[in-house]
Amino acid sequence: MNGHPHGEVKITVESDIAVARRAVREVAMQIGFGPTEIARIVTAASELSRNVHKYAGSGVMQWNAIDNGSNGGLELLFEDHGPGIADVNEALREGFTTGGGLGMGLPGAKRLMDEMEIQSAPGQGTKVVVRKWRRQ
């Protein structure tokens, strides 16, 4: 996996959410996703980077072009050192919110992507990984 295209966007101010979206759009296009898949990936990236900004204040998004041998895809990792999530299952429940939002950030992003993994604990920050594979 060495040498695969990758990069990162630091999320420190609100306008970095749009910077993250643009970076994701560009790489998704390069990987060859179609317009609807790009819209799904960019929207998920927007929700997840907004979570980083809203709950942790700052963090980072890393993107990696991935390949499982038969399919190419895109992996996005969002990491922050914020308050963390006490109950990840609850955070994934529809409509659950602690940040005054609509509570669709995490479950919505999960629906838009193929895979999602969350590592978090109170006081430990949050790490969210999402992946999208190209359809043949």
Partner: protein
């Protein structure tokens, strides 16, 4: 990078507001203020919100759009949302966002046609 400006123009009795392709949060927030200010400055019956350039509608953007339509309603105007791209409609639905009861049409042309129709409720304006 790309055009981030919201365009607001008055066309006869309607305010036509066009959103850029990928507005950041502060641009989205400006939608509410600019629209409501323009509504009160001009004597218009309603708002046509052109989303044809918009490439993504995340939960924040969608909430702002539906809130703006609600506020325009409180001021006595009608809102028509026009031109949502298929990829945006699919994604917004999967994400779980809705635009409330706001009327939506396929094109700005169609929206302006509807906006120009005489007011069925018999409200007298102008």
């Amino acid at each position: 990078m790309q055009n981030e400006a919201i365009s607001v123009i008055k066309l006869r009795n309607t305010l036509l507001v066009t959103m850029p392709a990928d507005p950041d949060d502060s641009t989205v927030a400006a939608l509410q203020e600019r629209t409501l200010e323009a509504m009160s400055q001009h004597d218009v019956r309603g708002l046509v919100l052109d989303l044809s350039k918009v490439e993504i509608l995340d939960s924040y953007f969608a909430r702002t759009v539906s809130e703006t339509a609600q506020m325009v309603g409180l001021m006595g105007g009608d809102t028509i949302i026009a031109g949502m791209r298929p990829s945006v409609a699919i994604t917004a639905t999967e994400l779980g966002v809705t635009l409330g009861k706001t009327r939506t049409v396929m094109t700005v042309d169609r929206a302006l046609e509807i906006a120009a129709q005489p007011d069925k409720a018999g409200k007298t304006r102008r």
